[in-house]
Symmetry: C2
Subunit: 689 residues, 2 copies
């Protein structure tokens, strides 16, 4: 036997992302914008084309918008506006019992919508290509992961060693895809978690064949490799939670039916045939979700008998629930079934070097359309922290990263608690009458929808106090009602999730993403949403000081603004110099700390160059003055007056200072005189130079 | 000498478009959607990358939206919201004298914006590629055009013979581009009309070299080949109009300045240094327009001395006008100069076989940002008429086509009249005081802006009565004020251009594009603009019957709707059967006559399948019921209530019938009982089967 000694190639990167689903791609989006040396690998040789997760919540759309591609999702998706509740009447026949808005009005610029996962992944891939050289390496999977604990605290070290195997195209293609010629119609379960995980099998076979291998040394690794996460297994983290698994069937069809609400999101409780959820989709498709009660996991193995699950069994169950309405179809786009427990990993990170995100650390039922959204939110929370840390712009190596686990694990636990509550209401037998305490009343279901709509929108996510979330001593408690609007004729303040609030911005929940209102550009009269001024941009994800400058035409207030600029922002002792690396222009788009001004004086009376200190609209020899930094809470010519100060609860004369993190989360609120406290906060967050 | 006899290749097409600028590309957009066998040639070997025309008016954006790409233009462009007027004060120094909105509020979903022509052409090219196999053939130019008059009335004939020459890449590249390495900075005049036309020269040289030639037989030819139009010259049409030519200089720079309104559209009249127009653009650029008074065309040749025109001469003139404000720049993106008369061709068509569009038939000054927009509107007017005629769906061969010349020539003449009036106000010396009757007062200029904002938006375009525009006998005269809104608390009706109006839709100008209001989908609760329901779609550009069904929950009105469907729309004698070719499903997306229903009953009380005859939401075995055809004038959950009936002046109980052409222009208005009159109108327009 001849032995060939091949040298295994070795290389280094800053961040290795394992898994190119929504969580991995979202993490990669930040890396792409920040110029971080990143690799992203996925064991699958193909990307997703049809089906899979579908619901896009408001906050996910807001995040897409911050990267610049929400418009693509908004244009292609089906928007869900209304939820119709159907319930058996006295005669046992289903009837519409209620209509509610799917997304509570005025909580976001967006409403919930539905678009197949493959398109969403496409937007991320296009975004990565536009902003970086990072490419998803498909058919590549890790086979070992070692962390050198001696090096984890060394900022410059690459303490993680990962061996990667490169599969052949043949190996990377799942058997089911080969036989189904690209569509999953042949075996809708091929990516379902009802299919056994094939990672170990792929590795073994590739090794036997002598496939190629490489060694990668990384500063950070992010495991986004799904419910069977190989990365999580290497860390030894066991998922914890509910042992009872339900099996859900999913069918995407173009329905032919006389059921009147087929283009609405519906929850249909039948008298004794179970519950059906209808999700209208793009291109005339409708998704039917149904719990397959007749299929139960094997007690010993915990697995369901896959052979019993067919599109027909799902469809027939739906037909029975919809009766006496007729339902048939000529076109099925996709189908699958899931077996879903409600579980959370005990930790999302190891040594703040290896992180887990998405299904790798939380699984739950698909009913509320949360899965993809919460997974993406994990990546969104982690990505900017990683980027600033790799760029050595964080206060310490772990100042930012240490908040990932507590912030996101708390959300995962809330999600499971929500799912428990919602599942019972959803899958329980409908109440026969008021006396029927065992059954689920429509009133209870509706109340649950109302109560949880804000939760499922993703907008109520509130991070607890930490180095990154500062609660002022005089904050209103989390459950105190926000103050009423002073203007009886104006719309009521937008829905505010419970969270502590400062009297300086009494309707801004601290730890939550800042609500968005339209403001008007001082120089161009362009009305734009506040969120549009807070993009997820590079080269370093910026913390932003929102200077609500108040009525700058009143002399004392103009003096306060000037004093804030002089004593807190500018000069050798100022915040901008303190937290901006040498060589980067202060308050420029490249700086990790930037200032955005929103004043409340009548826009026509204000002159940008006269009423605002130069640092608020910084000058460069290439671009002249920056006209995008000073905005007015003022009427627009074509889009009304959004009254941002009132909406945020900021005093129109005196203003306030609000710091938002790179992820638009409110981190600090104070007065223009609180420069010292602001510096103390920033010192815990950003590196002082 | 050896002679090689090469056979000249011959081929046929339905439509040949000469020139791939905005007018030609817009015409091609309709061809692409309609599957018309089309060729489009352009003598230039490269497309435009920087500079050129820039203003995008509301109507152009609405048209882009009808093809599905307004979002791209809207996202990339700079939006112009405000116009600032600057005028010399008593001390002779310029000061801001007024601010007005650039686009009058509420006339459109869009506002005027600015984007370079190259991007706009890109959107058209992408659209063509998405919907057809039509590709622009660059470096191809016609050398002869013959029309066989004996065949022009034969629907099946290809009476036009055009010889095309194919240039080499070298020939198709203008000298100036070769030397300026792709950017036009070296010689900003290379595509300006100050450069002599090189068409004849190109042809001669190519012929001498023995370049390749082909013979094309076409049913229709559209000449969109610019101010020097070769096509127009072949038809022998002489441009008519103003002999006096002005020379305008244009400079696109990133300005460094203390002038406060540099991000606004400005008209700056200096005391004695002339007038400057400032147009803020995308990417921090600003366009400066200035009339170069010191450069006058040579009396004998009519041409200006090109060598005297440089970026510096334009810039220095701008600096003088802006003084005492400082202006400098480090980056110039583009510059040019135009010599512009105000002229219109005597006819836009020959035998309704050869058509002219865009600069080929009208030239005027660039001040109001009209050029590209009016040119595109020519193509938009012509394209659907050509498509339906080629498809033999028009009542006769010329029923539609014969309206192109009168409709668009009238608009060109209005444009020239507007330009005359506006030019004097714009280029005149500012009035020193009220007694100064020679000078232009700011009040006069502002009044002109107000008066003409609707004109320049493109929304006031009103086509005169014709086979395609039917005025009811009891119409309100064009200049009668529209009726007041009956609801004191609702916003006033949107700005309505003067045009005749029917009492059945008292705020709908006949002959004008229908105003757009949001309506709510009956089946899905989705709010959409009426215009979004009227796309410029194929396979045959459809005439649409908008059935304002009124309050369908009232029994007598429900009966009227049923009677309209039974007696006018449906059955063997109905309109849909009469005007839909055999083999095409009635009221389907493929039919040239379609029905869209908008009712005014409370949406929650209405059931699509119960309250509306089946023909209003047609069924197909592939897609089931069509849920996109019935809409409600009702409140939406997230976007308010736009009150379409009130805005259009339609009675909320009794409704009305409005027919819009494929270009969204209101063609016929009547009652639900006027099916006979409706048929008479349609017989003059569409082919009866």
């Amino acid at each position: 036997m001849k032995m060939t000694v091949t040298e295994t190639p070795e290389s280094k990167c800053d961040v290795l992302i394992i898994g190119a689903g929504p969580a991995g791609l979202m993490t990669a989006a930040w890396m792409a914008r920040s110029g971080i040396k990143t690799r992203i690998v996925d064991k699958r040789g193909t990307k997703i084309f049809t089906g899979q997760a579908d619901g896009l919540q408001c906050r996910s759309l807001e995040i897409f918008d911050s990267f610049g591609f929400a418009d693509r999702a908004w244009k292609e998706s089906n928007h869900m506006l209304e939820i119709c509740m159907w319930n058996p009447g006295g005669d046992g026949k289903i009837r519409r019992s209620d209509r509610v808005p799917d997304t509570p009005p005025s909580i976001s610029r967006f409403t919930e919508c539905v678009l197949q996962q493959g398109r969403i992944e496409r937007f991320f891939l296009d975004h990565m290509k536009e902003h970086s050289d990072i490419e998803v390496e498909r058919g590549v999977l890790p086979v070992s992961l070692d962390v050198d604990e001696a090096q984890v605290e060394d900022e410059d070290a690459h303490p993680i060693t990962v061996k990667l195997r490169h599969l052949t195209d043949e190996e990377a293609m799942p058997e089911q895809v080969k036989s189904a010629s690209g569509t999953a119609n042949g075996d809708g379960l091929y990516r379902s978690n009802l299919s056994p995980d094939d990672t170990d099998d792929l590795i073994r076979k590739n090794r036997e064949k002598g496939g190629t291998e490489e060694v990668l040394r990384a500063k950070y690794v992010v495991g986004c490799d799904g419910a069977h996460s190989w990365t999580r297994r290497q860390l030894g983290f066991e998922m914890q939670g509910e042992a009872t698994d339900f099996i859900w069937g999913v069918l995407d069809i173009i329905p032919i039916t006389d059921f009147p609400d087929i283009r609405q999101r519906c929850v249909i409780h039948s008298a004794d045939q179970g519950t059906l959820m209808v999700i209208p989709r793009e291109r005339g498709l409708v998704r039917l979700y149904i719990q397959l009660k007749e299929i139960v996991p094997d007690a010993a193995s915990g697995r369901a008998d896959r052979s019993k699950i067919t599109p027909d069994i799902i469809f027939k169950a739906a037909q029975k629930i919809l009766s006496p309405y007729q339902l048939r179809y000529n076109y099925c786009d996709w189908w699958t079934a899931y077996q879903i427990g409600q579980r959370v990993a005990p930790s999302f990170a190891l040594h703040n070097r290896v992180f887990l995100a998405g299904d790798a650390v939380h699984t739950h039922s698909p009913k509320a359309g949360q899965g993809m959204n919460v997974s993406m939110a994990d990546g969104y929370n982690l990505g900017w922290k990683l980027a600033l840390t790799v760029q050595k712009l964080s206060a310490t190596r772990t100042a930012l990263l240490a908040t990932y686990d507590p912030e996101r694990r708390a959300i995962a636990n809330q999600l499971i608690a929500f799912d428990h509550q919602f599942s019972r209401l959803f899958t329980g037998r409908p109440a026969r009458d008021i006396a029927d305490k065992e059954g689920v009343s429509m009133a209870a279901l509706r109340a649950a929808f109302d109560r949880h709509a804000l939760f499922t929108s993703g907008l109520s996510v509130t991070y607890a106090p930490s180095a990154l979330i500062s609660i002022p001593p005089d904050a209103a408690p989390a459950d105190a009602p926000p103050p009423e609007s002073p203007h009886a004729n104006h719309p009521p303040p937008k829905l505010i999730p419970p969270a502590p609030r400062s009297p300086r911005a009494a309707r801004v929940p601290i730890g939550t993403r800042i609500p968005s209102y339209k403001v008007v550009n001082q120089a161009s009269a362009l009305p734009l949403h506040l969120h549009a001024l807070l993009p997820s941009a590079g080269p370093s994800p910026p913390f932003r000081i929102l200077l609500f400058a108040g009525n700058v035409l009143a002399a004392p207030q103009a003096e306060r603004v000037r004093a804030f600029c002089d004593s807190s922002l500018e000069g050798e002792a100022g915040l901008l110099r303190a937290f901006t690396p040498a060589g980067t222009a202060l308050n420029s788009a490249a700086a990790p700390l930037q200032v955005l001004t929103i004043h409340s004086a009548p826009r026509e009376g204000v002159e940008l160059l006269q009423h605002f200190p130069a640092i608020l609209h910084p000058f460069s020899e290439e671009a002249g003055w920056d006209y995008e930094r000073v905005w007015a809470d003022a009427p627009s010519y074509h889009e009304g007056w959004d009254r941002a100060y009132e909406g945020l609860g900021v005093d129109g004369e005196k203003g306030a200072v609000v710091v938002v993190r790179p992820d638009q989360v409110v981190a600090w609120v104070g007065d223009l005189e609180e420069g010292r406290a602001l510096r103390a906060f920033l010192e815990g967050v950003l590196r002082a130079w």
